[in-house]
Amino acid sequence: MDVLMPQLGETVDEGTVGPWRKKEGDSVAADEVLLEVETDKVSMEIPAPKAGRLSQILVQSGETVSVGTVLAVIQGAGENATEPKSDDDKSAKPAAASEPRKSATVTLHPAALGVSGVSMPAATADGRKLSPAVRRLVAEHNLDVERINGTGRNGRIKLADVREVIAASGSAASPPATRSVVAPAPPADQAQSANSIPFNRVRKLTAEHMVASKATSPHVLQAVEVDFSGVERARKSLKESWKAQRGYSLTYLPFIAHSVCIALQEFPNANASVGNDELLLHSTVNLAIAVDLGTDGLVAPVVHGAEKMSLAQLADAFQDLATRARNNRLKADDLSGGTYTLSNSGSFGTLITAPIINQPQVAILSTDGVRKKPIVIEHPDGDTIAIRPVGILAQSFDHRAFDGAYSASFLKRVRTLLEQTNWFREV
Amino acid sequence: MNMSIASTAVAGQANADLTSETRLKLYRLMYECRVLEKRAYDLFMQNLIKGTSHLSLGQEAVAAGFGAAMRKDDYTYCTYRGHNHTYVRGVKMSQILGELMGNTAGLMRGKGGSMHLTSVEHGAMGSYAIVGAHLCIANGAAWSAQYRGTEQVSVCFFGDGTTNIGAFHEALNFAVVWKLPVVFVCENNLYMEYTPIGDVTAVEHPAAGRAGAYGLEPVIIDGNDVDVVYETAQRAFDLARSGGGPTLVEAKTYRHHGHSRADPAKYRPDEEVQEWLKRDPLPMYRTPLLDLGVPDAEIEAIEATVNDMIDQATEEAKSAPPPDSSLAFTDVWADGGSAWRN
């Protein structure tokens, strides 16, 4: 059967073949990585759609071809080398080598899932039928349906039952932009060691990226403590109408983002990249928002032109990106072009985080938990202690790009904006 | 009651006041219609025209007489047998032949075909292939003209078979009740498709015999005498423009060919055909023209010019490319597209 150049995003219509991991004539297991494909947005691994022999490589490394082009041909066991290419339906039968389950299996159309070669049961062993949504989720999370408790009629496993299992195990959906680089589930006959958790592709990419960033940029951490009283007042009074109008809650994040955008325009060196002995300033603020997607990894979708947006527009944009991230609907364009990153661990109540810079940017700001704390209010008539919502903003910056005083001034500006802006007017 | 229309027409006598210029114009229009339909027939035979086609060979005087009497902004509504009625409004021959051949020279670039020739810019508001409907639609254009006060007339051509469908009766009653500026022209060619009209109609004159039911004067004219047709048209239009309401005209005529491409018309007695061929509107008009002193050479010159026209039009139509495949999906909606969902 044919291995095709996949579509890596709605705005992408071609891809470049990277290194082949297999040679012509090699035998391959289903889901084993065959080659890498690159676009200007992402790089991904293409797994073998079925087990067999890699009989033909049609496109060599370095060649750029359009989506849908046949990259290689895999000849299944027992197939004649000169046999006409079989269609997808025929190849839907699971290859013997990767047949892990007793129950009937089907193969989803890869386009429907964004993953290749996933097979999944159509029913439980005792014959309870599984809905398409359940089958899809089970496959995506590599779950064993026999161990899911069905709460529907006659023990039917409902979508909610699967979601519960996923939530309990902390296995969130893999991030969409990297969905196509998710390593396929290892064949069942390669039993996993009880003591090791093999990195999946996202984990590997994240690891590489982090090491590279630390190796490239001398990181310096600076933090300021911010009094969020003004923000909190506005947030509280608007909370309900906001939720009613927009269907989601107003968090601290858009306030911080709005202030950061203003400050970045005044401190353009922080909205930049390091070039060849030069600092490249960016004309717009493309704000990346790190979104944690559970143990599988991290994505940082980008709000383009954030400096031109109102607070409400920023909030909408974050909501949109977060929703699409969770629904696996991010496009390649959503993940590119960031110029500054916000990393938000606030909801976990962290005190301070030292974030790692999202290359090729030069700074990243972590927003941590906001807690009520007693603080000293200085006043000519005598200092008093007040209870205020306070949180720490911590910025890691690339010391190649600028120095501590510049970063500190920037942070001070962000703090002043957050504390002194009339947020009622901004919202 | 409109005695002026009926009296002239029934008498069958052309108005001697017509100038020879008008007469030559009428002859030329008929001649153009004749060669156009003949060429359409030839192109069928060469398989360059697909589908069906309904020719008006032998019935040219009706289209020519009414067409010549119409104002530029009047409306024509005609049937699937509508090549001539569309042509006489000023449409180019190549636009008609192109449409018959289904290519981009055509009026609708192949989207309508022989039975739906339309040229809104010429007031040819469409050829309708579901019998009877367009009488009601012609009323709408007349109503619009009445409402806008433009004194435009809506002219609706149809065959004898139409008089037995409900829409004919609804349309006539409606037009009279609303006093609409519409002229209904029944071309009675004696056959509804393959069946003699007399076999299936309760009255002798399929249109005129029903006129009285709607308070209209029965008007029967010789549809092969173009002078009579022309004058009847003028009178009916004058009446309509002056707010006098609709006219129903029954023009007796005969088609030289079958109902459509598929019909050899074997059901018609030979003697009948021979009788009507003697009354072919073209020779019937050419001879009196000569008698009136129009030089033969002048007529021949017209005929030669028209013969060149049709050859040129044929070449133009033949050489036009087929419609781009995208046209299959355009103009369902006013936005130019065909989307029914987002």
């Binding site: 429907a112 809905s131 269907g247 | 009601c136 109503w143 409606f174 969902r341």
Partner: protein, 325 residues
């Protein structure tokens, strides 16, 4: 904002457009002096006069033919076909003439017209005066199909339909004519082809149209209060153009879809929506798409029989519970 009945909102929508555009005219049986048999055109003759509001004979073909001819020569006519069942006597004009003119003429002809009609059951009028036939219309390429559920939508959609450059079949739900609701006094337009999400839930998405909208909302309340099932309710408002994006988005959220239509079972609009969702959302469905329809029988006249036939809140509740369990 004023409280109007659904029937008053029809006249309000037409009047709004007649005031701003002289080319808008209205014809139909008993629509002028009598104000319409359903009183949906009351007051229009007085305000706009007999040349713009004109009674016709009982000649549905003549009515639609005149409407078409007027639309293609510069007017924006609105025609009333008293009962939508009567479309059967003039369907040539809808299906063969009006719908196809623009396409066949390669865009030469415009057809800015509206055909309004009393549609659907519930009035004990028997099988020939009770049909919901919006599904007939959506089967024909070239006509838009609108069926509002609230007085505000009646006014806004009627106005939008009149302004639309394409032919619109406007189905008024007879059983809702007396329903009341707030309607904006000022100029009001509702875009054609935009569904309205009336209620957001987590367990099931229900699509409704016209008279099934209030019944579905009632069912959603029962589901929530008595069965702990949380339903999203979509009022489609328009079948052509069809707001599939809203249907798909809302169905994806819950993984389940129920359509509630007044059409008899075979080829009702719910069938088309089921097919779209099955094709495009298969892997997100947690159960079969389920249809609540009128059964495939003519409607009876007796109260208890007709009630048994039409979609009811109880039937909707039961269908949803079957699906969600």
């Amino acid at each position: 904002m004023a409280e109007l009945t659904y029937r008053e909102a029809v006249a309000a929508g037409i009047a709004q457009e007649m005031r701003r555009d002289d080319s808008v005219v209205l014809i139909g049986e008993d629509i002028a002096d009598a104000g319409g048999v359903f009183k949906t055109t009351a007051g229009l003759l007085d305000e706009f006069g007999p040349s713009r509001v004109r009674d016709t004979p009982i000649s549905e073909q003549a009515i639609l033919g005149a409407t078409m001819g007027a639309a293609m020569t510069g007017l924006r006519p609105v025609a009333e076909i008293m009962f939508s069942d009567f479309f059967a006597v003039c369907w040539d004009f809808v299906a063969n003439e009006i719908a196809k003119a623009r396409y066949m003429t390669d865009g030469q002809v415009s057809m800015p017209l509206v055909i309004k009609s009393g549609n659907g059951g519930g009035a004990r009028l028997g099988a020939q005066h009770s049909q919901a036939v919006e599904n007939w219309a959506m089967a024909i390429p070239g006509v838009k199909v609108v069926a509002p559920a609230t007085p505000a939508d009646v006014k806004g959609l009627m106005a939008a339909a009149i302004r639309d450059p394409d032919p619109v079949l406007f189905f008024e739900s007879k059983s809702l004519y007396s329903a009341k609701g707030d309607v904006p006094d000022s100029e009001h337009l509702v875009d054609l082809g935009k569904a309205s999400v009336l209620r957001s839930g987590t367990d099931v998405t229900i699509c409704a149209l016209a008279m099934t909208v209030p019944r579905t909302l009632k069912a959603a309340e029962i589901l929530e209060n008595e069965h702990g099932i949380s339903a999203t309710v979509i009022d489609l408002r328009s079948l052509v153009p069809l707001d599939t994006q809203t249907i798909l988005t809302e169905t994806k959220k819950t993984g389940r879809l129920v359509t509630v239509e007044e059409n008899p079972r075979l080829c009702g609009w719910g069938a088309e929506i089921s097919s779209i969702v099955a094709e495009e959302l298969f892997w997100s469905l947690d159960g079969p798409v389920t249809r609540v329809t009128t059964p495939h029988v003519p409607l009876a006249s007796a109260d208890n029989l007709e009630d048994l036939q039409l979609p009811s809140p109880e039937k909707i509740v039961s269908a949803v519970r079957d699906l969600v369990d």
